[in-house]
């Protein structure tokens, strides 16, 4: 039987005190140091019906991303580019607190921040995904389902998307008399770089990478930074109510680059 809201709050208060006490000694409640990620597992090609798919486990957080490729009209103002559409849903399986229904603001922020990293890095070369200029282009859907949520959904989802795109096979289409015909053959997608996001939360003066749900419940502020293969920063999102100092942000940008490179080489091994 789940506990009532009031008793949950009391437990959280006690845990928070415990956590702050541990942080002052340089330790986290799960024993990690501040800059360690949890155990990271990745599996690709798990959905045969998708053009690409990946399951990522980051500690107890579990995310599946699936890529579907169709043809369609280009977006207005982007007539000579393929269309990339991303979505993320935190499934009601993910935790006792999720209600089924349309995505709430956290889920929308999640998919938009993940989308930003992929889009701004131009990981997918959308210029190469045009079939009939101005009329028909590739439409690439990347949909993410969060199966179990234990913090840092942003990074887990972002890694799942990158891995799913990286290992996907796009259909090859032919143009016959202004008509688009599926040849039944596939090609690797036009990949230019690998955007990797790194997320940290600030609790008091401590900045912790890869936060758990419990740490997120105690956070003062959150920051996510995405770097591409050459180390340049392509997307940032500061979240939650508290601020960061300039110094903390500059330090974090360096950590995001170094940690990003580590993660990138782990995901690269898949290919």
């Amino acid at each position: 039987m789940s506990s009532s809201k009031r008793s949950t709050v009391i437990v959280e208060q006690l845990r928070k005190q415990q956590m702050i006490e541990a942080l002052s000694r340089g330790k986290r409640l799960d024993g990690r140091d501040f800059e360690s990620y949890r155990n990271f597992e990745i599996e690709v090609g798990i959905i045969d019906k998708a053009s690409g798919s990946a399951k990522v486990k980051l500690g107890n957080t579990e995310v599946i991303a699936g890529v579907k490729v169709e043809t369609g009209e280009p977006f207005e103002g982007l007539e000579n580019k393929g269309a990339l559409i991303m979505s993320a849903e935190v499934l009601p399986t993910a935790s006792p607190h999720v209600e089924p229904g349309p995505p709430d603001e956290d889920a929308i922020e999640l998919s938009r921040v993940v989308d930003r990293g992929i889009r701004e890095s131009e990981m997918l070369d959308l210029d190469k995904l045009v079939l009939i200029p101005g009329k028909t282009v590739y439409t690439v859907f990347v949909d993410c389902s969060i199966i179990n949520s234990d913090g840092n959904l942003l990074d887990a989802t972002s890694y799942a998307v990158v891995a799913a795109l990286l290992t996907s096979k796009f259909p090859i289409y032919e143009i016959k008399d202004e008509q688009v015909v599926d040849t039944g053959k596939t090609m690797p997608p036009p990949i230019t770089t690998m955007p990797i996001s790194i997320t940290a939360v600030r609790i008091g003066e401590s900045v912790l990478l890869d936060p758990t749900t419990e740490e997120e419940a105690c956070m003062d502020a959150r920051i996510t930074m995405t770097t591409q293969s050459d180390g340049n920063i392509v997307a940032v999102q500061k979240g939650f109510t508290g601020p960061f100092s300039i110094n903390q942000i500059v330090q974090f940008s360096e950590i995001a680059r170094i940690k990003g490179e580590e993660m990138r080489s782990k995901i690269k091994e898949l290919n």
Partner: protein
Amino acid sequence: MKELSLMDENGKRSDGRGIDELRSINITVGVVKNADGSAYIEFGKNKIIVAVYGPREVHPKHMALPDRCVLRCRYHMSPFSTDTRKNPAPSRREVEISKVMRESLEPSLILSDYPRAVIDVFVEVLQADGGSRCAGINAASVALADAGINMRDLVSACAAGRLSENIVLDINDLEDKEGDADMPVAYLPNLEQVTLLQLDGKLTTAQFSECLEKAISGCKLVYEIQKEALMKKYFGNEMELKEEA
């Protein structure tokens, strides 16, 4: 022409099965960490995750019943689960399946043991391959058992159908689309009660009885696999020890 593609002259079906053969079934118990009970099923190419939360407080409160527990069920397909991308918003089909699924599970549970509470069953289809409602029910019943909900029996589900003159067990995606009848059935194997029965397609009265009988024989096969999956989670070590001894 169409019959030829579904059944060859040796009685083999399009995927190589005989008329009384199930697709391969694999069930894993306890796959979602945060849930009170969960199960993952691979039923042919179906891949489905089920998580159970509860019994817990009802929100909104006015839904609560004074004498028993409310059971809620949500059947949902991931956008990447089908051949062409599925819109993530719930369709009318998903709403209906959620309803019949809930009604097929409810008779197995002793809901009067948890008055004023709710049990939520979330069924997520990661890949669909025909018969996903049956596969979902099988996983959901196992997940409810994993959550420790008091129950009278497991619910086992399986479809049977007709390919021209043949009544066959466990209709797959192609047979569902091209075949002549599809009849999903859910069954309480110990209480010998039917809790889900749907049919689309044409059957004579005789074929109907044969089809029902065949589906129930399939349910009984599924029941053994469900039991085994639960035994593996809860008595895994003991089972291994027994085998060694």
